[in-house]
């Protein structure tokens, strides 16, 4: 603790000229005080970490308390279904699973196209609990996996902060990351998604790697290779690690910080990490064939060159000879590397950057070329309000922390600065990546907070001690005398320090209040159960989705095939237990475009397409009665765009009127007759939705619909949920031909 050692130093300096009795007594009391202080300090740290652990867990439990313990959103349902399969059938069946219940008639090789880390983790926790005779349901384990790993992340953040700066920064980092909304948004209880485990793995890998670079130990590098393996098994965002670490090594090499420790850490992590990563079938040989991973290989070869040059330089001890050798080797190495890269890329052996990651470097790429990536709301560029919402005070503590890091540059602080800057750039390109930037922002802000508080408190303490002993000493050292003069010229410095400390305390308490409010209001909704306020302020729940899926489960034949837009695919297979045509995996764009074409065509053409796909039921989501705005009519233009991307017969301007999307009387005729319109608004024209408005008033679009008298020829209504949110139609078999 810096604050404690400084008064000890000034005290010992001030008491050098006083009598030996004073030294002995003060020294003795200080010595016994120091022992107790260390133990007190340890107790304080453990208590703080324990409380932070519990806080991180319980802050994420809002939706469990308000609704029930259920899985949220869309993707987690797929993860839940696969985890269920894993616990029932075992690992071998899971690893080799071919699912014929999705993407009818193609099926999906699930074993080879998922990241198994999350499912295996939840299954292991489940089996461990069962071993201890706690017979919980797998769903409970799945729901609470994310908060559990968020708590573990706070511990890793503490150790990481300790590694970069000191224990104070570690503690502050743990507290900040426990409640930061950027992290909470994807790790609430019920959000059983890859990121729940991946952020823990990311931070663990970075911590172990920085530890390996600091200590130069092979064991820590092995640990970071295992951390990387866990990250690869958990999330596709591992590409960030395999590019950031080589970039960091490159920066260290350029700034002249090459050392043996760096060599050991990077090489061990790269080779072992790459080998371990290739065991995941979904990743396969990408580490040696994909353009996204070539940076790591290039830096690996560069490290070998550096080591070789270093060794030769050491052997030669003669600068002139070494210069010539250097020139020859470096030019030949660059030449060979350039030729290899050129040949590989030109021949197509090294695949270029895939669309998902290329759109991070060129944000306009997806909108023009890949409408499916552009249509996901999480992939949109981030607005400033999102940054403020998710980070609050961390947003201006981040530059302050950067300043402190640059003041005390070391291998570790360079790493955290690079992690912070690169992740913030990507967070600005895509909203979803605010999550990846959150640990860096929390750590750097923690450095700022910890350093400031430490400086202020040491200012307070030193002033007190020196002012007490200033009168007792005679000549004294120049340092003590300068402190005394400082004290006399600015007597309000102590008051200023107290005021600043109160200010810091106020800021941090506002941060805590903001985080709790954001978690409660914005990030705790399960998305599958909607809530609204009634006329008397009471809460009304719309459980239409689950109502529809259970209807499907109980009232349709087991081999029925359901056609819906791809958003609902996972939920239908998980809860309805029926085969779907397309789901959220979106691996086959043509198949999705076929469904989009069916939804955008008129009923006869759509019937042809549905017959070719063996569709038995069609499911649409409609928000006109409740005012729910994420329904299929609002998503309809994306269906047109994606369908039109593959089938040029679907043209987007046909559905717009003067570039405007309308559903009332002035809508385009193609819009008024398409399948989606008919299915959503069937019988809606007779319904009065709002007092004082005509029947057929669409509350989500805010207008009266155009075509109220809808007749369906090839489909019939099978089920509409109580609030008209989900509507299911049966496809009639063809009429008998004579």
């Amino acid at each position: 603790m810096g604050g404690k050692s400084e008064p000890a130093k000034s005290e010992s300096m001030a008491t050098t000229t006083t009598s030996p009795d004073l030294i002995n007594s003060s020294f003795f009391s200080f010595k016994s005080l120091k022992l107790k202080t260390k133990q007190q300090e340890l107790l304080l740290r453990i208590a703080i970490l324990g409380l932070v652990y519990i806080l991180a867990f319980i802050a994420r439990l809002f939706s469990v308390l308000r609704y029930e313990s259920m899985i949220h959103e869309f993707d987690p349902y797929f993860n839940y279904r696969t985890t269920l399969f894993l616990t029932e059938k075992g690992f071998y069946e899971f690893w080799n699973w071919f699912d014929s219940e999705s993407w009818y008639p193609l099926g999906r090789i699930i074993g080879g196209t998922l990241y198994p880390g999350l499912m295996v983790t939840a299954a292991l926790i489940y089996w461990a609990l069962r071993f201890l005779r706690f017979f919980v349901h797998i769903r409970e384990v799945c729901v609470l996996t994310a908060p559990f790993f968020a708590s573990n992340t706070t511990l890793v953040a503490y150790f990481f902060g300790k590694e970069i700066w000191d224990t104070g920064a570690g503690l502050v980092a743990a507290v900040l990351i426990a409640i930061c909304p950027g992290y909470i948004s994807r790790s609430v209880a019920g959000s059983y998604d890859n990121e729940a485990v991946a952020i823990f793995a990311l931070l663990l890998t970075f911590y172990l790697f920085v530890k390996a670079v600091n200590t130069g130990s092979l064991a820590w590098a092995l640990g970071s290779a295992f951390g990387y393996f866990y990250m690869v098994s958990a999330w596709g965002g591992y590409v960030f690690i395999i590019n950031l670490v080589p970039l960091y090594v490159l920066v260290l090499l350029i700034t002249g910080r090459y050392s043996m420790r760096l060599y050991i850490a990077y090489n061990c992590m790269y080779i072992l990490g790459m080998l371990l990563a290739m065991q995941i079938r979904f990743v396969g040989f990408q580490h040696v064939q994909s353009g996204e991973h070539m940076g790591a290989m290039g830096v690996f070869l560069l490290m070998q060159v550096f080591y070789f040059l270093d060794w030769v330089k050491y052997q030669l001890n003669d600068t002139k000879l070494f210069q010539t050798f250097l020139r020859i080797t470096v030019t030949s190495a660059i030449l060979v590397g350039g030729i290899a890269l050129g040949v590989g890329t030109a021949s197509g052996y090294i695949s270029p950057w895939t669309g998902r990651f290329y759109s991070l470097l060129d944000p306009t790429y997806a909108k023009d070329h890949i409408p499916i990536i552009a249509s996901v709301s999480e992939h949109q560029p981030t607005a400033w309000s999102s940054f403020m919402f998710d980070y609050h005070i961390l947003l201006f503590l981040f530059p302050a922390g950067l300043y402190f890091c640059f003041k005390r540059l070391s291998d570790a602080t360079i790493f955290i600065v690079m992690y912070g800057l690169t992740s913030l750039y990507f967070a600005g390109v895509m909203v979803r990546l605010i999550l990846v930037a959150t640990p860096a922002v929390c750590l750097i802000s923690a450095i700022a907070v910890s350093a400031t508080v430490k400086n202020l408190t040491s200012l307070l303490r030193t002033k007190q001690k020196v002012s007490q002993t200033g009168s007792t000493k005679g000549a004294g050292s120049s340092k003590a005398s300068s402190k005394v003069t400082l004290d006399q010229s600015q007597p309000f410095q102590k008051n200023g320090a107290i005021a600043l400390l109160v200010g810091v305390f106020y800021l941090l308490s506002r941060y805590a209040i903001h985080c709790t409010w954001v978690t409660s209001e914005a990030y705790s909704s399960p998305s599958i159960v909607l809530a609204a306020r009634g006329a008397h302020g009471n809460r009304i729940l719309f459980d239409d989705y689950r109502e529809a899926y259970y209807w499907l489960r109980q009232n349709t034949p087991t081999d029925a095939k359901i056609m819906s837009w791809w958003d609902y695919g996972y939920q239908i297979t998980a809860m309805g237990n029926r085969t779907v045509i397309v789901d959220n995996n979106t691996w086959n764009n043509t198949h999705i475009a076929t469904v989009g074409r069916a939804m955008s065509s008129n009923e006869d053409e759509a019937y042809e397409i549905m017959r070719s796909l063996d569709v038995n039921y069609v499911l649409v989501v409609f928000g006109g009665v409740t005012g729910y705005s994420s329904d299929d009519i609002n998503k309809f233009l994306w269906m047109v765009r994606i369908g039109g991307g593959v089938f040029p017969v679907i043209k987007e301007p046909d559905y717009l009127v003067n570039g405007e999307f309308r559903v009332d009387k002035g809508a385009s005729p193609k819009m008024l007759n398409c399948l989606m319109y008919k299915l959503c608004y069937y019988r809606f024209g007779e319904l009065t939705t709002e007092y004082g408005k005509p029947p057929g008033y669409d509350r989500a679009r805010g207008g009266e619909i155009g075509n109220k008298d809808i007749k369906l020829e090839h489909l019939e209504e099978a089920y509409t949920t109580s609030n008209w949110i989900v509507r299911i139609y049966r496809v009639k078999p063809p009429t008998n031909r004579l």
Binding site: L218, C268, I271, L275
Partner: protein, 115 residues
């Protein structure tokens, strides 16, 4: 110009050779092991160039096991070398134990990957 570069190369070669003879024996053994591993990797690559790279996972696991063990041996050499001031308080037994552990993990993964 050519004559001076060849003379430089010869000088280089001679001075390298003379200083290398002076290195301790345990480091020379590690260097020999590294050369053997790299040589084995080169043989495998040459064989792959002859018969084609199917199955690719076997080829990768063979080459990477050689490169991996070579790299780990170089790390061991760094940690054991008494002239490296950064590692003077690391016991050579600990360095060797780390080396063995990493090689164990490497070869277990290779066996899984070999197919």
């Amino acid at each position: 110009m050519v004559k001076s570069t060849t003379k430089d190369a010869q000088d280089l070669f001679h001075s390298l050779r003379s200083t290398y003879v002076a290195t301790p024996t345990n480091l020379k053994i590690i260097d020999l092991y590294v050369c053997f591993a790299v040589f084995t990797a080169l043989i495998q690559v040459a064989y792959m160039a002859l018969v084609g790279s199917f199955p690719f996972n076997s080829f990768l696991s063979g080459v990477l096991s050689c490169i991996g063990t070579a790299v780990l041996a170089v790390c061991l050499r760094i940690q054991v070398n008494k002239e490296n001031k950064e590692f003077k308080d690391l016991a050579p037994e600990r360095a060797f134990a780390d080396f063995v552990l990493c090689n164990l993990v490497l070869h277990l993964v290779i066996i899984n990957f070999l197919g």
